[in-house]
Amino acid sequence: MLEARFEERRGALLVTPLAALDAEAAPELRRVVGERASGRSLVVVSLAQVREVDSSGLAGLLAVLKRMAPGGELRLAAVPPRTRDILMATHLDEVFPQFEDAAAALRR
């Protein structure tokens, strides 16, 4: 089950998950967020409310990125330290640009 808030901000999609982005949330992350992100050029996922992102959650974010418009960016905001570690370990920190908070990530 994925619990998340979706907001439109200046043509970008801001997604704020309200619980862990883990294996349990991943299938819906792919489906629901993937659907909304489809064809967009900027999606921001704010992790301010998220305790954990596991590898299935990250794989879900990759699936979302793949559905965005060519050249599109999936930005992460307010990344918790443990998630930063796994992003580093998997080199995915280069795939998902990281920002202090949602506001910074939404600035083009």
Binding site: P27, R51, S55, L62, G71, V95
Partner: protein
């Protein structure tokens, strides 16, 4: 209730084995380990002694090139035997721990609210009969566990068949498909992983039928959060058990009670003998009992697909690392040329995101040997040091290839897949693996190079019969005195290691499949793509003479050659010639006898095709 169960018992060729149970794994014996190690050291010392003599004193100056070629083959064979002995040096089973109660007992970082463990059983199918898959689904539904467990079963149907979807609905299990069949089985499993959320994943082929104790017996291993997967032996419950020797002598050989008595006396000396057992050398007991079990102690047992249980987090994380590495490496050539650091960063960010859109995330490598490839990736992860466990008790049952063409498809896939990994992604070069892990993976790959030495060795008698050349200066007392102690010690060491495990049929087929393995080697070296042919799971035994053409040609050539050389020798005889002739006849006859079961398997037309079978 689904009314298919009673029908099912009648309709399959394997129905009569329905109540069979797997044998218990052999008892681990430190004494036997020690006896084996002593014999292996002795055999290796005698082998070195023989080879020193062989290279220093026995090369035949009259046929130097031929002599050297055979000596090279012997040296490569010796290396293979030494590697094999090292790779089965000792057998150690994992400590069995009680089944975990909740998810937090198997997690590295606990959940704030604990819950039962979630297990997904993924049954991958492409073209297997719906009713065959139903058997697997029904058995998966009977999986037991002593604590609450969230068990979900999913049929992953790459064939996208409405009848399969209907069966899944009838059985009340999940049914997952995808639009294409990219990556074949590995891609199918990935799709399953993406749509499920279990902490643990059980990998099943279409014909893999779990026994009720699979989870209760193995989940304890996952209490160690570094355990990435547990592999159980693959047990083919449909392998023909053969006829006990006394019965065979009494009935098939029509010797009556005296025959039965002789049979019993023979069995009292050499142990139980089953005539005609496992005609296709399908029984993988030797591989699991000796090879896999010998790898537990150094964390090098590898995954063989069906019958394994995986920690989702391990498989996914390894896949992400591999993905991230490939993506960042792919953009490096472009960014490296940019001097300005700020510009370089901007370019890199843009390129990496683009590359990520097109790269594939592959929890199971898109490769013919996805299981061993994935094992290497997990073992080689330097930050994680994932552990693998080989659990020695068979907890699933599955079907064996039913004819020689099916057997050939399976073995070609194993050989070419393993060689391809060695060729492209040699584990010896991976810094994350320990020396012992490298040795174990190296031994597996090296074993598939066997045709490089078996073919020259098996065919050298033909050179003698037709051309009259011998690989040694003389077949004299020095030759036999050096060679025979080495061969005896090797055979003894092997016999002790394989005590209680039937290996004879597998050895015959190993020799007979040298031609197949040579083709696999040529295939990989030529860089030809590997096909993902599904190993046929069921079907009539088909005749296939072409598969045994090289073997028949060898035997015909040997007969003609023996007659020819015999006639020549009769004209001008002498004792040295006689020993050379006798040695080569013996060797050619030995080879022919080893080929014979393979040839018989090819000729077996609808042999024992009772009950119609499944098509």
């Amino acid at each position: 209730m689904i009314p298919t169960a009673p029908e099912t018992r009648e309709r399959w060729y394997f129905s009569r084995y329905e109540d069979r149970l797997p044998a218990e794994p052999l008892r681990v014996s430190p004494a036997r380990d020690f006896a084996f190690q002593a014999l292996a050291v002795l055999a290796t010392a005698l082998g070195v002694h023989y080879l020193v003599w062989r290279w220093g004193w026995s090369l035949n100056p009259d046929a130097l090139a031929f002599s050297v070629a055979v000596a090279v083959a012997e040296t490569l064979a010796f290396l293979g035997a030494t590697l094999f002995f090292l790779s089965v040096w000792r057998i150690q089973d994992p400590v069995v721990r009680p089944p975990p109660r909740t998810a937090n007992e198997i997690r590295e970082t606990p959940l704030p609210i604990d819950r039962p463990i979630r297990v997904d059983v993924l049954i991958a199918t492409f073209n297997e009969p719906v009713e065959l898959v139903r058997l697997s689904v029904q058995d998966a539904k009977r999986l037991g566990y002593p604590h609450p467990l969230t068990l979900r079963i999913h049929v992953l149907d790459d064939g996208r068949r409405p009848a399969m979807a209907r069966m899944a609905r009838e059985e009340g299990v999940g049914y997952l498909t995808r639009s294409g069949n990219q990556g074949f089985k590995a891609g199918n499993l990935r799709n399953g992983l993406e749509q499920t959320d279990g902490d643990l994943v059980v990998i099943c082929d279409a014909d893999t039928r779990p026994l009720p104790g699979l989870l209760a017996d193995t989940l304890g291993h996952f209490r160690d959060p570094s355990v990435a997967w547990v592999q159980t032996p693959q047990w083919f419950y449909d392998v023909d058990p053969g006829t006990p020797l006394p019965e065979w002598l009494a009935r098939a050989a029509r010797l009556g009670r005296p025959g039965r008595l002789i049979g019993r006396m023979l069995e009292a000396v050499i142990g139980p003998v089953a005539v005609g057992a496992d005609p296709l050398a399908a029984d993988p007991a030797a591989f699991y009992e000796i090879v896999q079990r010998g790898r537990n102690w150094c964390n090098a047992s590898f995954c063989c697909g069906a019958g394994s249980i995986h920690r989702r987090e391990a498989v996914m994380e390894a896949a992400l690392k591999d993905f991230g590495r490939r993506v960042t490496e792919s953009v490096r050539p472009w960014t490296a040329k940019v001097r300005d650091p700020e510009l370089r960063e901007a370019l890199r960010t843009a390129l990496v995101a683009q590359a990520a859109r097109h790269a594939e995330l592959t929890p199971y490598r898109f490769h013919v040997s996805e299981d061993i490839y994935t094992s290497i990736a997990l073992h080689a992860d330097p930050e994680r040091r994932w552990r693998s466990v080989y659990h020695p008790r068979a907890l699933t049952r599955m079907l064996s290839p039913q004819d020689l063409p099916a057997w050939t498809v399976q073995r070609f896939k194993y050989a070419a897949g393993t060689l391809d990994i060695g060729w492209r992604d040699n584990p010896l070069r991976l810094p994350g693996l320990t020396p012992w892990q490298k040795l174990m993976y190296g031994a597996t790959i090296y074993a598939y190079l066997a045709p490089l030495w078996t073919i020259p060795l098996l065919f050298s008698p033909l050179a003698y019969f037709f051309i009259g050349v011998t690989p040694v200066r003389a077949f004299d007392a020095a030759f036999f005195g050096n060679l025979i102690p080495f061969l005896l010690a090797s055979r003894l060491a092997f016999a002790v290691r394989a005590w209680g495990v039937p290996t004879w049929r597998a050895e015959q087929f190993h020799l007979a499949s040298c031609w197949l393995n040579l083709r696999a080697l040529g295939h990989v070296l030529a860089g030809r793509p590997l096909r993902f042919e599904v190993t046929p799971k069921s079907g009539a035994r088909r005749r296939s003479l072409s598969l045994v053409a090289p073997h028949l040609a060898f035997m015909a050539a040997a007969v003609v050659g023996i007659a020819y050389r015999g006639a020549r020798l009769a004209a001008d005889s002498g004792p040295p010639h006689a020993t050379a002739f006798a040695s080569n006849v013996f060797w050619a006859a030995h080879t022919s006898l080893c080929f014979l079961p393979f040839i018989l398997a090819a000729l077996a037309v609808s042999l024992r095709r009772e009950g119609g079978g499944a098509r």
